[in-house]
């Protein structure tokens, strides 16, 4: 499974674009999170690996901005399982196991479209390649759950 981030501008936000793309391409898509208002929207979709290229070009043909979020990597040697990232994760991809180790699920993580956990790690064990410096992170870059 792969995740793609779809960004709709003000003009496109009232159009049923996701439904159109699904019907026209006959693909299965899971909507993991969506944040939409009258000014535009962001939707995170989970799709089959083989469908990524087809979907990205289908969305782009309709004038939608599509990005395939970068993967968040956790340096497990560095992580000492404080857990400060756990409650920040909007999709509960970070959990505490029975022996109190922090477990990071690559499958659940929505990637650099969210990034909420990255700058909270006190030993900088969480990285996405998109933002190399935490100073680049501001409220505006944060993915907000509706």
């Amino acid at each position: 499974m792969a995740r793609i981030l779809v960004r709709l501008n003000e003009a496109l936000v009232s159009e049923p674009i996701v439904s159109e793309v699904i019907l026209e391409n006959k693909v299965l898509v899971a909507i993991l999170a969506a944040h939409i208002n009258s000014k535009g929207g962001e939707i995170i979709l989970e799709v089959l690996d083989d469908d990524v290229d087809k979907l990205v070009s289908a969305f782009r043909q309709k004038g939608v901005t599509v990005t395939v979020p970068k993967i968040i990597a956790v340096d497990t040697d560095r992580c000492f399982s404080c857990g400060s990232c756990v409650a920040l994760c909007p999709v509960e991809a970070i959990t505490v196991t029975e022996d109190l180790t922090i477990h990071f699920s690559k499958e659940k993580c929505v990637g650099s479209a969210c990034n909420l956990c990255v700058d909270t790690c006190p030993v900088r064990a969480i990285n996405s390649t998109k933002y190399s410096k935490p100073e680049n992170l501001s409220n505006r870059n944060e993915y907000r759950e509706k």
């Binding site: 920040l88 700058d119 006190p122």
Partner: protein, 501 residues
């Protein structure tokens, strides 16, 4: 009375057993389970020592180092280790590395805590120092690299560690804040807490019966000692702290880790473990304390004042469950200290005692039970938002842009606050927004107003409101109360008039 019915045992007996390898040692976690399953009497008979542990960010940590003399010698005035300015407390070549001192090149990423960890790990650290030069210490600068082996002394010296318990932090405001309690999302979207709860050393001996001046402890993976109560020690409300020291040359980088908190600064995670000798049944009951019996306050960290509102009380059991309930809302909560490492500290200390490497000491003096943590005496008032705010010029959402433009001119202001019939904040519109609306031919206020408004509270320091304006590149903040009712407005002009910027 036969020996088996005795209700006390001595520290000397325990130490003899440790040296013979026959002492019964349990971690705090194991002790609680034993007392629950078998009762106090059995636990007293069976257990000699309980080991506790915690592993948290402890900002009031540091290290004293002695460099030895250079040739020609230097009496250091200012010094840096890996570009982190360190303190020169006196004499010629003694330095104090404070954990929160920041690196000049990457201030929020590397600091004194990381320097200490690097030294403990055996890494080379760059030293730069300057001086004014005297007849006895002629040199005015020095640059070299050092490792811990080059140092005469390398003593971890922490003036406040091992908090008995700590606050749970939450953010009720509209904006993300970055604190020493880590990142707090707006509208109570997350909470953080610190401390090991039922595993924490002082929580297992809250009357300081066995923990006192001179107690030998696990510190940073090596041995250390308690040298007194910590600063801000406040035992009456269960906020006791410890001052500790230990030879950092024998410590381990696993149990002393530099940390960086975004937009707050650096710190040091410290592993601290204390053995509690089970001298009587009272200590069995004390070490049986559970997370359900340890409470702390949920505090709103968005209020930028010394006294922050307490929203509710929660137990460490609730905190460790991953979610708490605040004003009827479920809030997910994260630990900042590592409970996994806290258990490892207690287990390592248990192993040392079992192997006969670590014996227990009786305190030579008790920790104080009656000190209070006073606020600072202040002889100068600082300005708050309420001191400079003035009434806001407002409008309603249905008004025409032309009417609003007129108001901007007649009232000679740049910001009009959009409110509803109850006087609650809906948005803000600036003279620039009006100009743009004219250029683009827009007629409705809803098309041009800013809905996500950055606001100020009346009791907030003016300086923090000013910083927020600069950060968001805006020139005014509507002042609102807790119900979002508009009380007034504060502008960058007000700030510069008063603060002279």
């Amino acid at each position: 009375m036969s020996k088996h019915d005795q209700k006390t045992r001595s520290l000397a007996d325990i130490n003899q057993k440790i040296l013979k390898g026959t002492a019964q040692v349990l971690t705090a976690e194991e002790m609680k389970k034993l007392v629950e399953s078998s009762g106090v009497e059995v636990a007293f008979k069976e257990v000699d020592v309980v080991t506790t542990g915690t592993f948290g960010a402890m900002c009031a940590s540091g290290a004293v180092i002695n460099l030895g003399h250079a040739d020609p010698p230097i009496k250091i005035q200012r010094a840096w280790l890996n570009d982190v300015e360190v303190c020169h407390p006196g004499a010629a070549v003694d330095l104090f590395i404070g954990a929160t001192n920041a690196c000049e090149k990457k201030p929020f990423e590397y600091g004194g805590g990381h320097v200490i960890q690097d030294l403990v790990a055996g890494n080379e650290v760059e030293l730069r120092a300057t001086a004014y030069g005297t007849d006895c210490y002629p040199r005015t600068s020095v640059k070299t690299t050092i490792t811990k082996d080059d140092l005469n002394q390398f003593q971890l010296l922490n003036f406040r560690n091992g908090y008995q318990r700590y606050n749970c932090a939450i953010n009720c405001s509209d904006e993300t804040i970055y604190t020493y309690m880590s990142k707090l999302l707006p509208h109570m979207r997350n909470a953080t807490f610190s401390g090991a709860g039922e595993l924490a050393p002082l929580m297992n001996d809250p009357d300081y019966e066995t923990i006192g001046f001179g107690t030998k402890i696990f510190l940073g993976g090596g041995q250390g000692y308690i040298i007194g109560e910590g600063t801000q020690h406040s035992p009456k409300n269960l906020n006791g702290t410890l001052m500790v020291k230990g030879d950092a040359k024998n410590m381990s980088p696993e149990f002393l880790q530099g940390a960086a908190f975004t937009r707050y600064g650096t710190s040091l995670y410290v592993g601290l473990g204390i053995p509690i000798p089970i001298l009587n049944e009272g200590l069995v009951r004390k070490t049986a304390i559970r997370d359900t019996e340890i409470f702390t306050d949920v505090i709103d960290y968005s209020v930028m004042r010394r006294d922050k509102p307490k929203l509710c009380r929660v137990s460490y059991a609730e905190l460790k469950s991953g979610a708490i309930s605040v004003n009827g809302k479920r809030v997910r909560v994260s630990s900042l200290s590592s409970l996994k490492m806290a258990k490892k500290v207690a287990q390592t200390l248990k192993n040392w005692i079992n192997e006969g490497q670590f014996t227990l000491t009786a305190p030579i003096e008790q920790l104080p039970l009656d000190t209070v943590f006073k606020p600072m005496r202040q002889t100068q008032e600082i300005p708050f938002v309420s001191n400079v705010m003035h009434p806001a010029v407002t409008c309603m959402e249905h008004e025409e842009i032309r009417a609003i433009a007129e108001r901007i001119v007649t009232k000679s202001v740049n910001h009009i606050v959009v409110i509803n019939a109850d006087g609650k904040l809906l948005g803000i519109v600036t003279s620039w927004d009006i100009t743009r609306a004219m250029a683009e031919g827009k007629k409705a206020l809803v098309d041009i107003e800013t809905r996500k408004v950055i606001t100020a509270k009346p009791d907030e320091p003016l300086e923090s409101a000013s910083k927020r304006m600069a950060y968001h590149s805006i020139s005014a903040l509507p002042v609102i109360d807790s119900e979002h009712k508009v009380l007034g407005i504060v502008t960058s002009e007000d700030v510069s008039k008063l603060l002279g910027r």
